[in-house]
């Protein structure tokens, strides 16, 4: 039930932003198509993010992860600065999310956990991408390759009972290869899909309410694979409505403390083109 109301709230936000952008779109409906996109773009967006956490017992393949996922939904924000030149893209992206009310989910059902379970995430990414293949197979379809550097902070708080809780905070940095497909076939809409895969190094700080001795720091590593599908809908000469779905997952390995993370984020935003 909680998930349904959150989904309704997310749909409401999407509607509000669509309505906000609509008058601008009406004024500029006849603007010509841009060909290969260029210039500097600023995007801000809001939406919802789904967070999933699975304990991992064995890190060697096949990875043995818990049949139960600790998961939930929460608000997410993102801001992006993009510099587009013919055949090239530089992009700096910052996003944050906070997920509360986590539950234990399986494909067979869901079970609530004590209140206070939550996760938060802050992430910054820089990507450099080139489109060496333009008008691939058809006019307006470009294929690109890039490299993505990221840094982030993640916090997972668990409450086992009213007087028993733990916290796992991680600082991480990673590098990944990116493959992208961009469709700029239409006058008003650009669609871009990406897939990235790479390694992550983490420094984690663990705390547990049972004892001060339970506080420990440990190094770890892992992999992260993400996908995204985004659409920019031109609403005026300088404005775009930006929709993005992002998902992915990865494994974070550390001594006696490995886990798998997953996320799905849906955001809607506004892009200003300079």
């Amino acid at each position: 039930m909680a998930g349904t109301s959150r989904a309704r709230r997310a749909a409401g936000i999407v509607c509000l932003l669509t309505v906000a952008a609509a008058p601008v779109r009406a004024q500029d409906a006849a603007a010509p198509g841009s060909g290969e996109p260029q210039g500097v773009r600023w995007t801000v967006g809001v939406g919802y993010e789904q967070f999933g956490f699975r304990d991992v017992a064995r890190a060697s393949r096949p990875v043995d992860a818990s049949p139960v996922t600790l998961s939930g939904w929460g608000p997410a924000v993102r801001a992006r600065h993009s510099r587009l030149r013919p055949g090239r893209l530089q992009q700096f992206d910052v996003s944050a999310s906070r997920v509360g009310g986590l539950s234990y989910d399986t494909r067979a059902g869901s079970r609530a956990t004590p209140s206070g379970n939550r996760a938060a995430r802050l992430e910054a990414r820089y990507e450099y991408r080139r489109y060496p293949f333009t008008d691939l197979l058809m006019t307006g379809l470009d294929a690109g390759l890039g490299v993505l550097g990221s840094g982030g902070w993640t916090s997972i708080s668990r409450v086992m009972s009213p007087a028993l809780d733990s916290r796992d905070r991680a600082l991480g940095t990673g590098i990944a290869a990116v493959a992208a497909l961009r469709m700029r076939r239409w006058d008003r809409v650009d669609v871009t899909g990406t897939w990235s895969y790479g390694g992550v190094i983490t420094r984690r700080r663990l705390q547990h309410s049972a004892s001060g001795l339970a506080s420990s720091g440990l190094w770890g590593g892992g992999w992260q694979a993400d996908w995204s599908v985004g659409a920019d809908v031109r609403t005026s000469h300088r404005t775009r409505l930006s929709l993005e779905a992002l998902g992915g997952g990865g494994v974070r390995l550390a001594s006696h403390q490995s886990h798998a993370l997953s996320r799905t984020r849906l955001t809607v935003g506004v892009t200003h083109v300079r």
């Binding site: 060697s60 234990y104 079970r111 028993l164 390694g199 190094i201 190094w219």
Partner: protein
């Protein structure tokens, strides 16, 4: 892997990255999800997920009784608080559970403490080995949720068996002390067992039983508090912390433990 993180932090982290990335499709697609073919039976602190009409489903009441008893015993022996509900996934074959047997039997179990779940293969007969396997796995969940991350595999695996209840089966501490006494020649020095880099190189039956017997001896002789303090010590600090907590060296305690096991056997209170 990388228990001694302070010494080589970057190498340690990079080794985890290489280990993780140098994989096949799974390291891209992620771990697989459990399927939906389960029936769920709730028994106090447990939700048993069993395959329909399986051996596990026929004996779910037995598992409920045994594991709820174990739950209470573990809380009492460790003097900890924990009130969570544990999801137990009971599979009816090794392949079904995703274990790789390697020709080493058909009973396996794994605990996932941070999602309060376990999985195990549950095959006939309904004997002490099966009950102690399930009890061992739920002890991981209880102990790690109550205390946090263990410092060593020695403590993690040893404690899960050291607190086994002997009400429904006879593979608890008395069995472990008798085993340690009769297999003394096979047990490596404890200083080796507490080293996580060495732990996996020791025959697992020896490592599990010896660590469990030693920790059960500590619990029986000194109570839960000093063992809980030692719980967090990493491999490189284990011997030093042991000396600080118990006011004796690990070697001295090892000698006392060996004598304790021998005395129990002589007194006829062991097996």
């Amino acid at each position: 892997m990388c228990a001694s993180g302070k010494a080589r932090p970057l190498v340690c982290a990079l080794s985890w990255v290489l280990f993780a990335v140098a994989g096949g499709c799974q390291s891209v697609l992620g771990p697989t999800q459990a399927d939906t073919n389960w029936r769920v039976h709730d028994r106090d602190h447990f939700s048993f997920h069993v395959r329909p009409d399986s051996f596990a489903e026929r004996h779910v009441d037995v598992f409920g009784e045994v594991l709820n008893d174990q739950y209470a015993i573990t809380l009492a022996k460790m003097d900890v608080r924990y009130g969570g509900r544990i999801a137990a996934y009971l599979y009816d074959s090794v392949a079904d559970a995703g274990f790789t047997s390697g020709g080493q039997g058909s009973r396996f179990g794994t605990a996932y403490p941070r999602t309060e779940a376990i999985k195990a293969t549950v095959l006939p007969p309904l004997d002490a080995n099966l009950l102690s396997l399930l009890a061992h796995e739920i002890n991981h969940v209880i102990v790690q949720n109550a205390l946090g991350r263990p410092g060593t595999s020695f403590m993690n695996e040893g404690l899960a068996s050291a607190v086994l209840s002997e009400r429904h089966h006879d593979l608890g501490p008395r069995f472990l002390h008798a085993w340690a006494n009769t297999h003394r020649a096979r047990i490596p020095p404890l200083a080796r067992l507490v080293d996580d880099d060495e732990w996996s190189r020791v025959v697992q039956e020896v490592a599990y039983n010896a660590s469990a017997s030693f920790l059960a001896y500590l619990l029986e002789s000194y109570g839960a508090d000093p063992v809980k303090q030692l719980y967090y010590a990493p491999s490189e600090a284990f011997a030093r912390r042991f000396g600080e907590i118990f006011q004796q060296s690990l070697e001295e305690a090892e000698g006392a433990w060996v004598a304790y096991c021998a005395d129990l056997l002589q007194a006829g209170t062991g097996f």
